[in-house]
Symmetry: C2
Subunit: 379 residues, 2 copies
C-alpha cells in the first residue's frame, strides 16, 4: 500500500520543481521522471553504503518506465566530494556516451547529492538531474535548493554551483535503514529550521523528539515536509544567497570550520553544526541579547537528540579553526559574518563578530559557569 | 592617443554586458572595472606567452583604479584546459583567500578564457569575471557568450558551464604581437561568421583579406566588431544553445573531432575548424544543395588565409575521428547533427548526416575530381 504523498513546490520561475515526500516512493521514481520530458538514458550516482540497499529498486523503477540506466558507485563518506572522484564520474559519463538529454539520478545522502549535482551542473555544460535523498539530512536540507559542490583541501564546498534539480523524491522508508548516528545528524538540521524560522516546529521537536527518532510516519512526514517548506520558501526568495538564504547557514560558519580543521570524517556534518549552533546561540546572547533561557533550550534540544554540543580544542586547534573560518564563502572584506538568533524562530544574517568573542564561545565553560547556566535554564 | 572605441552589447537581461573594441584598451581595464561594483581584489589568470607581453600593463591599470591583483600563470596551449590545471587555479585562489566579491580577469586567448571562465563559474559557486582576449580567435568568438569549459581525455570542452563575463575588452593592439599562425587561426572563425550569417562580411573578407592580415585598424576594427555583433545577436536569442546558437558550430563537429583524435596541440582550433568548414561545405552540397561555386568560395577563402582545408587520414585515424564525433555535445539519440549551409550567409542546424557521407567528404578528392572542382570554381 502506498501512503500519503506530500508535495512541496520550490518556486523558481522556469526552474520550479517539486519535492515529493512519502513512504515507499523509490519505486515511483521512474513514473515521476516520465512526466519531465527527459532523454532515455541516465546515470545513477550512488555510494557503497546506499547501493546495496536501494539501487536495485531505483533501477527497476526506471527500467519499468522505459529508461536505460547505469550505475556509478562512489566510496561512502565526505572524501567522495573530491576533484579526483569528480574526474572519475566525468570519465564514466564520457565512456558511456552520455548526451545532453541524458540525466543524472543522485541516490544517497548529502555527499552523493552534492557530488552528483556538481557533475550534472558541469558535464556537457549541464544535464538534468534528480535528487533522491536517502538520509534525513539530505531530505530536509542538502537535496533542496540547488547548492552543489565538492571540497578542496583548503575547505569544504569551495568549488560548486547553483544548479537546481528537476525533482526531489524523499522516500521516508529509506530512513529505516539509516544508522542512528546519521539520523541524529539529520535532526541537527531539523532543529536548525525551528531556530531560524519556526518556533512552533522547535517546540514540537521538544515534545516529540522520541516519536521522531522512532520514525513514526505522521511525525516524520510532518517534520520533513515542514523543513522542506521552509527551505523552499527561503530559496524561492533568494536562490543564489544574495541575502535571506544566508539564514540557512545558522551554526554552519563554525560547523564548517570544525569539519575542515578536524579533517572531514571525524565529525559528521550534522554533528559539527550541532556544535556550531550552540556556539552561535552563545554568540547570539553576547551580540543580539538572545535570552539565556532560549540559548539553553537550543543546547538542551541538541543534547537530547544525542548530538555533541561542544568541542575540546588545543590552542593550536583553535588557531586552525579560526583560520578555517576565514576561508568560509560568506567572508566579506576579511570579516567573518554570522547568522545569529534574536529569539527561537527569528534570526538575522551578516552579523560581524569579533574574533575574541568566537574564542570565548568555543572554550567550554568552567564547572561553575556551567552550573550557573543550568540554574538559569531550569524554571 | 586613444583610438575609437566601439561598444557591442550582449543583451541577456540582468546579465547584459558590453564588449569594448579598440586600440590600446588594456590600460583602460581598471577604469572599466570601476564601473561594475566589484570587490577590491582580483586574480589575473594568464599564460606563459601572454604574461610577459601584457600582464604588467593590466596590473598597472587595475592598481591605478584601486584594485589589488595577483597573477596566476598557466602554461601556454590547449593542455592548460585540464582538470589538473583547474585544481591548481582553485588552490591558488584558496591560498589567497579570494572572496565572493573578488573577481577574475582572463588575460589571453581562448584557452585562458575558457579555463579562467570555468574557474570563475565554479569557485565559491561563482565569481564575477572579465574577459580580456588577446588573440583574434578569442576576440571574435570564445570570449563572448559565456561558454566556458575544460577538456577531458575523452573530448574537448566536455566539462563546462554557461557563465557570462561582466565585461569583454578587446584590445586590437594586442594582435600585433600575435604569431602569424594564431592570426590565421582566428581568421577561420571570422570567415565562419560570414558563412553562417553575413554574405557581405564574407565578400568583404574575399576583397580585404590582405588588409586584415596587415592589421589595418579600420578593417580590423570593423571586422572584429561585426563578428562580435553577430555573436551577441545569436547568444542574446539563445544563451544556452537550445536552438539558434548551434549555428556558431559550423565546421566545429568535424573540427573538434580532428583536434581530439590528433591530440590537442597538433592543430590549432582555427586550423581544425578550417578543415571542418570545408568538410561541412561539401556535406552541404550533398545534403542541402549548396552550389559547388559557393562551396568552392568557402574553400578558396580559407586557403587564401593560409589555413589547411583537408586532412590525410589512415583508415585507423578515420575510425578514431568518427568515434570522437560521437562524443560531441551536440549528439542527440546517438545521431551526430551538423550545421550545414544553404548558401553563404545562411545555415541550418540539427542536420542528420549518414556516416558514409562524412567518410566521403573526409577523403581528399582524387586529382581528377580536384581539377573538375577547380574548373567549376573558376569563372
Amino acid at each position: 500500500m502506498l501512503g500519503l504523498v506530500r508535495v512541496v513546490r520550490v518556486p523558481l520561475r522556469d526552474r520550479t520543481y517539486s519535492i515529493l515526500i512519502g513512504e515507499r516512493l523509490l519505486s515511483r521514481l521512474g513514473a515521476a521522471c516520465r512526466k519531465l520530458r527527459l532523454g532515455r538514458r541516465c546515470a545513477i550516482i550512488t555510494d557503497t553504503n546506499v547501493a546495496p540497499l536501494h539501487a536495485t529498486t531505483v533501477e527497476r523503477s526506471l527500467k519499468q518506465a522505459g529508461f536505460e540506466s547505469f550505475r556509478i558507485t562512489v566510496p561512502a563518506g565526505e572524501p567522495a566530494k573530491s576533484l579526483s572522484q569528480l574526474e572519475d564520474c566525468y570519465n564514466q559519463l564520457a565512456a558511456r556516451r552520455m548526451e545532453r538529454s541524458s540525466f543524472i539520478v543522485a541516490l544517497g545522502g548529502g555527499v552523493v547529492g552534492d557530488l552528483a549535482g556538481f557533475v550534472a551542473a558541469t558535464y556537457l555544460r549541464g544535464l538534468p538531474f534528480m535528487q533522491v535523498p536517502t538520509t534525513l539530512l539530505a531530505q530536509v536540507d542538502s537535496s533542496v535548493g540547488g547548492k552543489v559542490a565538492v571540497n578542496l583541501d583548503a575547505g569544504k564546498n569551495l568549488v560548486g554551483a547553483f544548479y537546481q534539480p528537476r525533482l526531489v523524491l524523499c522516500d521516508l522508508t529509506t530512513l529505516h535503514t539509516l544508522p542512528q548516528r546519521e539520523l541524529r545528524a539529520g535532526v541537527a538540521e531539523v532543529i536548525k529550521y525551528g531556530i531560524i524560522r519556526d518556533a512552533q516546529l522547535f517546540e514540537r521537536l521538544e515534545r516529540q523528539l522520541d516519536r521522531l527518532f522512532a520514525l513514526e510516519p505522521a511525525v516524520l512526514g510532518g517534520v520533513v515536509s515542514r523543513c522542506c517548506e521552509i527551505k523552499a520558501e527561503v530559496v524561492g526568495q533568494d536562490e543564489t544567497e544574495g541575502g535571506l538564504r544566508a539564514i540557512l547557514n545558522f551554526g554552519h560558519t563554525i560547523g564548517h570550520a570544525i569539519e575542515n580543521s578536524f579533517g572531514y570524517g571525524r565529525y559528521l556534518h550534522g554533528e559539527a553544526i550541532a556544535i556550531g549552533q550552540v556556539a552561535a546561540a552563545r554568540l547570539s546572547q553576547a551580540v543580539l541579547g538572545l535570552s539565556e533561557a532560549e540559548a539553553g533550550r537550543v543546547e538542551a534540544l541538541l543534547k537530547a537528540a544525542g548530538l555533541p554540543v561542544e568541542v575540546r580544542l588545543t590552542a593550536a586547534a583553535e588557531t586552525r579553526l579560526l583560520r578555517a573560518m576565514q576561508l568560509d564563502k560568506k567572508v566579506t572584506g576579511g570579516d567573518v559574518r554570522f547568522v545569529l538568533a534574536k529569539r527561537i524562530g527569528e534570526v538575522v544574517w551578516g552579523q560581524r563578530v569579533p574574533a575574541e568573542a568566537i574564542r570565548t564561545v568555543l572554550r567550554p565553560p568552567t564547572t561553575a559557569q556551567r552550573s550557573r547556566g543550568k540554574a538559569v535554564c531550569q524554571p
